[in-house]
Amino acid sequence: MEYTRLIKRCKEGNRKAQKELYDHFAGRMFFLCQRYAKDQTEAQDMLQEGFVRLFGNLEKFEGKGSFEGWARRIFVNTAIKYYHRVRKHNGHDELGHAEAQKIDPDALSSLHEQELLGLVQELPEGYRAVFNLYAIEGYSHKEIADLLEIQESTSRSQLVKARKLLQMKIHNLQIVLL
């Protein structure tokens, strides 16, 4: 989709154009925020903050590459900012001993998006951030380490633990369903 004219009008401060851009991206960006947030309230705050940052930095978008990709990075960075804020107050969370569980592929496929989202949201802050960045956004461990200000090895271990935790939760869901 061509956003060039819309973005140009947004850069001029045209409020209608900004609303149009918001209407177009708010749904997808809100889901992205929900993946990183622990609850709806935090996701709404992230979305609000993300759009303010997006419109504030729109001048920096030069039209090279996908606008949606650029917008997603803004919202991911906003989510990471929240992660740092939470970590500063709560410290780092660690999982005890979670054993990897076998999952029935059919059971996994039967889970709806909202159920999967709920599983991700239940992950501890650090695991959730790493899992989102690595598994869903496609960042490398080095990039994640830079963004989250952690060691690469920490990123790797948190990803492993996040997967184990998710497998455990899915396994438990299977039991409940059976």
Binding site: L6, Q18, E20, R28, A135
Partner: protein, 463 residues
């Protein structure tokens, strides 16, 4: 199951999902954004005004220069009119003017080289008018005499035309052609064409006999070819629309809109300036304002209204507390009727061709139209089925639906014009204007196209 599969599964399911955004979030966001500067709309109107100023400026400059060239400093402009017998008389405007056209020409010729170019314009205009008068009389029954004596005689006195045998009129016209310079021939060409058409229409003469006019008249690239003209017009307009689903099927919503929106007659006003080449081809540019009207008629027989009656009291700590005294839900019919208005400003650039036939002319023209402004006011049925405003951004039920500019459109029309004065024509022109792009925003689920029809009545003034 592999770990990679887990990642991939989450990515496929969650990467591009969308969620319903809570209402009111935009309000919170826009309070944190800088105030909207007026530069966007100002720049748009700036260009509109600049274009209008250019058109007016060019016209005014041309008129001034034309006036200076046509009116000699000695103020010897001629005003001609036909008397009740159809005979020509030259009327002096100032006491110093010569008594008739031929005398004016003779006087101008004696004026020497300095005044020659100025007087030449006067002479050409006088000659053109005489030829036009001959053409007009050609169509009268008594003047339909056979064409004889072409190329014989040397009548260069305008008063000879008053004798009015058809042959002498022909001689006069042919002589004018023979004695004329290339520039003069170019100036006389429209009148000569008129004369030729009139003669042929009256069954007098043949194409071969008038060949000298045609061959001698064509002189491309010379000064004095063609003329400028200004159009002022207006009339009723009526727009049709077509709606299709943009991404997902919203045919039910389209049907709902169709049953709540009713077209009404609008109007348009415009001004154009054009250049008309003697070959019949022309180019025109202008500005057109159009107001399209619609009626939004909504009626919901099962609408509910909730009335909550509250009272404000202070608790023991002195805090203000609202208590609900009563809640009443009433069911009824909600009726909403709004007269929607759409205001458009367009810049048409037209090319066309005109066929002249005595005092009548018929033309066809087409070209691109650039929309520079699209303002509107009214209500619409929103995708959620609730009526709301598409124009009032401050309204709680505001729905952004339409674009501010509609981009490129195409315009096509035909017209018939009739001479109503020396340089003035009246015309009637039915037209169609089709918007090439959707008039709705990309975020709106319906792709809406618009085609407007109009009937213009106007006046055209040649410069």
């Amino acid at each position: 199951m592999s770990k990679h599969y887990l990642d991939r599964h989450f990515r496929e399911k969650l990467a591009n999902q969308s969620a319903d955004v809570p209402a009111g979030l935009w309000d919170a966001i826009q309070t944190r954004l800088p105030d909207t500067p007026a530069t966007g709309s100002r720049s748009r109107w700036f260009w509109v005004l600049l274009l209008a100023a250019l058109v007016l400026g060019t016209s005014a400059t041309y008129l001034i220069l034309q006036g200076r060239a046509a009116v000699p400093e000695e103020a010897t402009a001629l005003s001609q009119a036909a008397d009740s017998d159809g005979m020509l008389q030259a009327q002096p405007v100032l006491p110093t003017e010569p008594e008739d056209v031929s005398a004016a020409v003779a006087t101008d010729r004696k004026a020497g080289e300095v005044g020659e170019s100025r007087s030449q314009a006067v002479e050409n205009r006088a000659t053109s008018e005489l030829i036009r008068q001959h053409a007009a009389r050609r169509t009268s029954p008594e003047a339909r005499a056979p064409l004889t004596g072409i190329a014989s005689g040397t009548h260069d006195n305008a008063n000879d035309a008053q004798l009015d045998p058809a042959s002498e009129a022909d001689e006069y016209v042919i002589d004018q052609m023979r004695n004329a310079t290339p520039e003069t021939r170019s100036s006389l060409r429209p009148a000569l064409q008129l004369y030729k058409i009139a003669s042929l229409s009256a069954g007098v003469g043949s194409l071969d006999e008038y060949a000298i006019m045609q061959t001698d008249c064509y002189s491309f690239g010379k000064r004095g070819l063609g003329h400028f003209e200004i159009d002022l017009y207006g009339g009723p307009s009526y727009a049709t629309k077509s709606m299709t689903s943009r991404n997902e099927d919203v045919s039910d919503y389209i049907m709902s809109r169709d049953t709540t929106e009713f077209k009404r007659l609008g109007f348009h006003l415009g001004a154009r300036i054009g250049y008309h080449h003697p070959t019949g081809f022309f180019a025109r540019i202008g500005a057109q304002y159009t107001q399209l009207n619609e009626r939004f008629d909504y009626e919901n027989g099962s609408s509910t209204q909730t009335i909550i009656t509250t009272d404000t009291i202070f608790d023991a700590m002195g805090n203000v507390v609202d208590i609900v005294l009563d809640t009443v839900v009433t069911t009824g019919t909600r009726i909403k009727k709004t007269y929607n208005r759409f205001h458009l400003v367009d810049i048409p650039i037209l090319l066309g061709y005109q066929i002249d036939n005595l005092d009548w002319a018929y033309g066809i023209q087409a070209g691109p139209v650039f929309n520079v402004a699209f303002a509107r006011k009214g209500d619409i049925l929103a995708p959620n089925g609730v009526p709301g405003s598409f124009s009032d951004e401050q309204s709680s039920d505001f729905h952004p639906v339409f674009k501010d500019q509609l981009g490129l459109s195409v315009y096509a029309s035909v017209y018939a014009q009739r001479r109503i004065g020396e340089r003035l024509y009246g015309f009637v022109e039915p037209h169609v204007l089709h918007r090439l792009k959707s008039i709705t925003l990309a975020s709106y689920p319906i792709d809406q196209r618009q085609t407007a029809f109009g009937l213009s009545f106007g006046v055209r003034m040649t410069l």
